[in-house]
Every structure is written in structure tokens, then in C-alpha cells.
């Protein structure tokens, strides 16, 4: 049982904080689990917006003001290039940290974060929140129980015309963003694949960066005994489905669907459209209890997991040691990247594209 509310400081008050963390923290405040005590963002307008929601929170000019006296848990939701330096500073100050994805811009930075948490009193969780969706947890169980038989292949298509309300053009610049769609969406997707399937043997990677960042990319992933394709885009409207095929059947998950998966079986006319509930035993019989969390509740439960871990009541679902795994593969991809085929280019354009692509390495 958590007696006093955890004091939460928010580092970065941009789009992700306004759209996701603010309503989640507001609900946790209502439940008496937390109290937002400090806000930091160099952009005054962004801080002001959040202060309207958390009027009791102090606006601080520097994150050095995030001390144990005022804050227990810091949520780092700043641009990724600041994640490592801010997280390390906060851990060294004795705070626990929930760091938004991607954990860092480079593996070296992420390793420094892990070294810092190893020496720190607090915990470090990474905001790969899709692991908190009941559907992704159910898929992990379906796979580990062998419901689909031996996994044979998978296809993950995720992308749409980009609509995220970014607040700076730096989000799209190679020099500041370090990556594009792979680092942004791919980090979620690769995290799930690693969580479900374990480490791949190899990944072949192509993207369309021609002096800038990747807007489209494709990954051919080799796991022990099966292969899979990942296609990501900030440009095209893709099917936004993950399909896993096994020797006994198939599974379909619609991206960000919190409580629903479809499962079909080999040689069967029927397929199941499942809605996920909590299951309990009543009078010796299994029954459905309450519906599993929706998307927003799952996001809240991510913060709940960090609070419980701070009190030694739960293990972190995504500790830093897990957060770095997808980052390692992303770095591998960027180091071994080749240019995607774009067959609508003229031969001259294709040559020039190849030259510009090489400048991205």
C-alpha cells in the first residue's frame, strides 16, 4: 500500500506530455497516488499550458532544481537528444526516472544511463509503453504457450501520413533527431518483437534517407527458425497490422489496439475475434472478470508500474536493460543501412539518390 503520494516532476512539456502524460498524471492524482510537484521546459508556452492543469506544480528554470526535497519521480519527456544527460543528472540527484522512448539517441548514451542507475538509489524505466497493452501481453502468452505452433513468419506494417503535433523542425533534421521513423516508431515495434521472439540472428535494413532522415524503411528480420518483414512509414498509409503465422494458425494485431487480437487456426474455417478480459476462478470455474485496460488505462498503468517498483512492490516491466535492446538493433540498422528501391526514379535520379544516401552513413 502506498501511503503518501509520489511527487512527480515533468521534464519536457511538449506534445507527448500534453497529450499523454498530463491526463495520465491527472488521473493518478485523483487516485491519490501522485502529486505533480515540478514542471520544466525551456519553452515557456508549453510549461504554461501544463501549469493550467497542475496549478500546484512549481515551474523550475533548471532541472538541477529537481532534488529529493521536491521530487521523487522525474518523467523525462524532452527531445531524445536530452534523454541521456537529463536522466543521468536526475538519477545522480537520487530520483527515480521514467524516460520516454527512445531511451537515448545512441547505445553509448544508453549504456551510460545504465551505469548511472546501477550506482543510483532510484529506478530507471523506459517509456516503451506498448508492453503495457493487454493485447501485446496476451500475444506474448499465446506465443510462449505455443498456441500458434512453431512461428513461421511475421509481417508488421505500421505507418500513416505524419500528423504528430511536433513543436520544432529539429524533429526532422538528421543533425538533431539522429533518426527518423525507425527511431521514432520502430523503437516500439522492435521492442515488442524482442519481447515476443527474443533476439534476432540478423536484420537487413533499407531506408529512404537521402541526406535527411528515414521516412520509409523496411527490415527483413531473421530469427531462429523463421523470418519476418517490418515496414514503417511516415509517408504512406499502411495497413497498421502485425500478422504472425505459425504452424497451427495465425494471429493479427491492429497497432495500438489495447484489448483485441484475432486468431485463426490452420485448416479451420473459423477465426476468433477476441476481446481481452481479466480471467478469474469463481466456484471452481473460470469466468471473465472486468474488461482489460484500454489504451489510456494502459498508459496510466505504465506510470503505476514505476511507482510500484519505487516502493519495491513490483518489478519494472521495461527497465533500462530492456530499453537498450531495441536501441542496439536500431543502431545496427543505421550502421548497415542501404537505400530502399524507389522504382519511380529515373536512372539519373536513382544515381543521385544513391550518392545522397551515402552521405547519411
Amino acid at each position: 500500500m502506498i501511503a503518501t503520494p509520489v511527487r512527480v516532476g515533468l521534464v519536457g512539456c511538449g506534445a507527448v506530455s500534453q497529450l499523454y502524460y498530463a491526463p495520465a498524471l491527472k488521473e493518478l492524482e485523483r487516485l491519490g497516488l501522485i502529486r505533480v510537484s515540478a514542471l520544466f521546459d525551456p519553452n515557456a508556452a508549453s510549461v504554461t499550458q501544463l501549469q493550467q492543469i497542475f496549478s500546484q506544480a512549481n515551474i523550475v528554470r533548471d532541472i538541477s532544481a529537481f532534488s529529493r526535497d521536491a521530487v521523487d519521480l522525474a518523467i523525462v519527456a524532452s527531445p531524445p537528444k536530452f534523454h541521456a544527460v537529463q536522466t543521468i543528472q536526475l538519477l545522480n540527484a537520487g530520483l527515480s526516472v521514467l524516460c520516454e522512448k527512445p531511451m537515448a539517441n545512441t547505445v553509448a548514451e544508453a549504456e551510460a544511463m545504465i551505469a548511472a542507475v546501477d550506482q543510483a538509489e532510484g529506478v530507471l524505466a523506459i517509456g516503451l509503453f506498448r508492453r503495457f497493452l493487454p493485447a501485446t501481453q496476451a500475444i506474448r502468452q499465446v506465443l510462449s504457450l505455443g498456441v500458434l505452433g512453431e512461428v513461421q513468419s511475421f509481417e508488421c506494417y505500421e505507418g500513416d501520413f505524419f500528423r504528430w503535433p511536433v513543436q520544432s523542425p529539429n524533429y526532422f533534421k538528421r543533425s538533431t533527431a539522429q533518426g527518423g521513423v525507425l527511431l521514432d516508431i520502430g523503437v516500439h515495434l522492435l521492442d515488442l518483437l524482442l519481447w515476443w521472439f527474443g533476439n534476432p540472428i540478423d536484420i537487413q535494413y533499407e531506408d529512404d534517407a537521402m541526406g535527411g532522415v528515414d521516412v520509409n524503411c523496411i527490415l527483413q528480420c531473421q530469427f531462429a527458425g523463421f523470418t519476418g518483414t517490418v515496414r514503417l512509414s511516415r509517408d504512406c498509409s499502411l495497413s497498421n497490422r502485425y500478422v504472425i503465422r505459425g504452424s497451427k494458425g495465425w494471429l493479427n494485431w491492429t497497432v495500438n489496439g489495447a484489448d483485441n487480437v484475432q486468431i485463426g487456426f490452420t485448416n479451420s474455417h473459423f477465426a476468433l475475434d477476441t476481446k481481452i478480459y481479466y480471467g478469474v476462478q469463481q466456484s471452481g470455474l473460470p469466468i471473465l472478470a472486468q474488461p482489460a485496460f484500454n489504451f489510456e488505462q494502459s498508459f496510466i498503468s505504465q506510470i503505476g508500474n514505476v511507482i510500484a517498483a519505487m516502493h519495491g512492490q513490483e518489478s519494472l516491466l521495461v527497465p533500462a536493460s530492456e530499453g537498450i535492446r531495441s536501441l542496439r538493433w536500431i543502431e545496427h540498422c543505421y550502421h548497415h543501412r542501404t537505400l530502399m528501391a524507389m522504382p519511380w526514379f529515373s536512372p539519373a535520379e536513382a544515381n543521385r539518390a544513391q550518392q545522397l544516401s551515402l552521405s547519411c552513413e
Binding site: F161, F172, G211, G264
Partner: protein, 393 residues
């Protein structure tokens, strides 16, 4: 090198123009978009992108500073089409831009223009399709701005612009997947197509040709093609036979009795009148009306399921387009600009299909295609979204 500012650079034509001009070293291109998020598609390149709203003269003026030419490729609703003209023209003048190229549309001549139509034909803004009228009015407005201003003006009237990300390619592909594709007149109407690269080639010529000021040009592909010619490569790529696409006709349908009664009941006047009566009277009246409009079937549970066949909704625009019997000439562009389409229609189709595959559509490979083509001659496949779904799963 020529400096071109591209307004609407994240759109279908704008983004390909940026790509083609940058990769082809045709010009130093500066993409300009309305929202920060619209930079996403362009961020593959390291370019001097700007964010400015087409309604904001000051912002556009700053964004186009130092450019020789501005291309107005802003798409949108009537308000956007008409409302961005004056600010953009004034901004170009303020920034010392030499020439503005306005992307109009061949639809100013209607979807099925009369034989003999060319750039000299009179335009009407009382056509059945609202978009046509807006574009006619936009042309008139921007010509008037040219009369009073110093920035040179070239108006281009492309036909049906095809290519990667084209609405005409993507919407037909999606309609195929949803079993909503159709043909009118068996697709034998003429499609006044222009592959996007050909249009961009024309934009470049319009930007550089000294004689082009105050001229208007129809821009099209070299070949005369039908809608069936446009659609056939797409249906083949999806392993479907064009013959199995249903033939439809456009019919104007007035609202049904049910729709009309519900519309009257939902009107503000009705709601006000009904509020004079007690609530239980109103509920009883609504219940009686509902029973009348939706009689309950007592045998519903005993009815076997039937495959759901939804009839494609034919739009007036598509019906007119597919009945077109005239290829708009681009003779004037040939003679004055030296325009010569750089991509033949067959290659244009190949590139559009290649993009569909790139964008995740279930395109079968050309090798598969050949094999299936042989098989199709032996046994005609059934046009079924289930088969496409199977390919996806």
C-alpha cells in the same frame, strides 16, 4: 542555379516536384508547407524547408525571399484555393520573385470537354462540379492580380495527374481492395492523363521560358489513353481481371421517404414544435413512427447469412470523366514551351504500380504476374476481396 519555392510541397505534386528537381539537379528547390508536421515527408532530404501559411502574406514573403520562381501547388477546399491567391501573389511581389506558376486544372473545361476545346475556349463557373467552378474563378482572380502586379504569371492546366501518391491511382487501388471499384462505359472514355513527371517537366519549362508570361497551357501525356488503359495495370497488379470490374451508371437518387421523414423530425422547427407536447406523448409518437419505418421481422433469426454485396457509389465526377470522348491538346505547350512529355504512358504505369508496392499494397511481382496471366487465360479468377485479404494475411 534557378531557385524555386514550392508551395504545397508535401502534397502529391509538390513532393514529387521537390524530389525530381532536387535529385535531377534541375533547380535549387525550397519546400514550403503550412504545418511543421508536413515536413515529415520531405525530411528524407537535407533541404532548406520553410513553414508558412498560404493565407499569411508576410510569412510567405519571408519564406520565398531570394527565390526566382514560386510554384503555387497548394491544394484544398474552395476557401484555400481562392483565399491563398492574393496573399501568395502579394508575397511574391514583396519578395521580388520574378514569376509565379499557378497549378490550375484541366477540369476548368469540364470532366468531358467538347471536341475542339483548347486554351482559348470560354470557361464557365456554372458547371455541375463545384471544384471546376472554383478553379475557373481562381484563374480569373490570379489573372487580375497579374494585371495589377509585376510578378509574371504562368497558368498550367494539368489533366488527370497520375503517378506515385496520385489520388487517382491510390483511390482506385483502395476501391479494388474494398470491392468498390467500377467502370463507366466499360472504361472506354478518354482519360486526359498526365504523368506527374511530365507535369513537373512542364513546370520547369514554364519557370524558364521567357515567352510564357500571362500564358495558360493544357498539360497532358503524349498518348491518347482510356480509363481502361489507366486501370488495367492496377487490376493486373492485384491479380484481377478488368472484365470483372462491374459496369455502373450514374443515377441521381433523391432521398427516400424514410430519410425525408427523419430529416423533418430532426429539424430545428420540428423539435421546437414537438417540445410543446408532454414527453410520454412524444416518445409514443416516435415509437409509432419507428415501427412504421422499421417494421420488425419475426423471421430474422431463421434467415441464412448472405454475402454482403455493397454497390459501388458512382460519383457524377467519375461518370463524366469516364464518358469523355476528347483528348485535350497540349499543342500550345509544345509550341511555346517546347514541352515534350518525358515519360511514356507505359513507363508511367509501371512506376505507379511500383509505388503501390512500395506503399504496401498487395501487388504481385511481375514474374508472378506473368505466371498468373497465363493461368488467368485458363481459368478466370473471381474478383474477390477475400483473395486479396488472403494475400495480406
Amino acid at each position: 542555379m534557378l531557385k524555386i519555392a514550392m508551395l504545397g510541397a508535401n502534397g502529391f505534386i509538390g513532393s514529387r516536384a521537390v524530389e525530381m528537381m532536387h535529385l535531377g539537379d534541375m533547380a535549387e528547390v525550397r519546400p514550403i508547407v503550412r504545418h511543421l508536421s508536413s515536413l515529415a515527408r520531405l525530411s528524407r532530404f537535407d533541404l532548406d524547408c520553410r513553414v508558412a501559411d498560404g493565407f499569411d502574406q508576410t510569412a510567405i514573403s519571408t519564406a520565398v525571399q531570394g527565390c526566382d520562381v514560386v510554384v503555387h501547388a497548394i491544394a484544398g477546399d474552395r476557401k484555400t484555393i481562392l483565399g491563398t491567391l492574393a496573399p501568395v501573389y502579394a508575397a511574391a511581389q514583396q519578395a521580388g520573385v520574378r514569376r509565379l506558376i499557378y497549378l490550375s486544372s484541366a477540369s476548368v473545361h469540364g470532366q468531358a470537354p467538347a471536341p475542339g476545346t483548347d486554351e482559348t475556349s470560354p470557361l464557365s463557373d456554372r458547371q455541375a462540379i463545384a471544384y471546376n467552378n472554383t478553379k475557373v474563378q481562381a484563374e480569373r482572380a490570379i489573372r487580375q492580380l497579374r494585371q495589377r502586379g509585376d510578378v509574371e504569371l504562368v497558368i498550367l492546366r494539368p489533366g488527370i495527374v497520375l503517378g506515385p501518391r496520385s489520388y487517382w491511382v491510390t483511390s482506385f487501388a483502395e476501391a479494388l481492395l474494398q470491392q468498390q471499384a467500377y467502370l463507366v462505359n466499360r472504361g472506354q472514355g478518354i482519360c486526359n492523363s498526365v504523368y506527374v513527371d511530365n507535369l513537373i517537366h512542364a513546370i520547369y519549362l514554364a519557370a524558364t521560358n521567357a515567352q510564357a508570361d500571362q500564358q495558360t497551357f493544357i498539360i497532358g501525356d503524349r498518348e491518347q489513353v482510356t480509363w481502361a488503359d489507366v486501370y488495367r495495370p492496377i487490376v493486373t497488379a492485384f491479380d484481377i481481371d478488368l472484365e470483372q470490374i462491374p459496369e455502373m451508371t450514374y443515377t441521381y437518387t433523391s432521398p427516400s421517404l424514410e430519410e425525408r421523414i427523419e430529416s423533418v423530425l430532426a429539424s430545428k422547427a420540428s423539435l421546437g414544435f414537438l417540445s410543446l407536447f408532454p414527453n410520454h406523448w412524444r416518445q409514443a409518437a416516435r415509437s409509432a413512427m419507428s415501427t412504421l419505418l422499421h417494421p420488425a421481422s419475426t423471421t430474422e433469426e431463421w434467415r441464412m447469412p448472405e454475402s454482403i454485396q455493397t454497390t459501388p457509389a458512382v460519383t457524377l465526377e467519375m461518370a463524366l470523366l469516364q464518358q469523355c470522348q476528347y483528348k485535350l491538346p497540349h499543342t500550345k505547350a509544345e509550341q511555346l514551351l517546347g514541352y515534350c512529355p518525358i515519360v511514356p504512358f507505359a513507363e508511367a504505369s509501371r512506376r505507379s504500380i511500383a509505388w503501390l508496392k512500395f506503399a504496401g499494397f498487395p501487388v504481385i511481382s511481375s514474374h508472378e504476374n506473368q505466371l498468373r496471366s497465363v493461368q488467368n487465360n485458363l481459368s478466370k479468377p473471381v474478383y474477390s476481396s477475400k483473395r486479396l485479404e488472403e494475400k495480406l494475411i
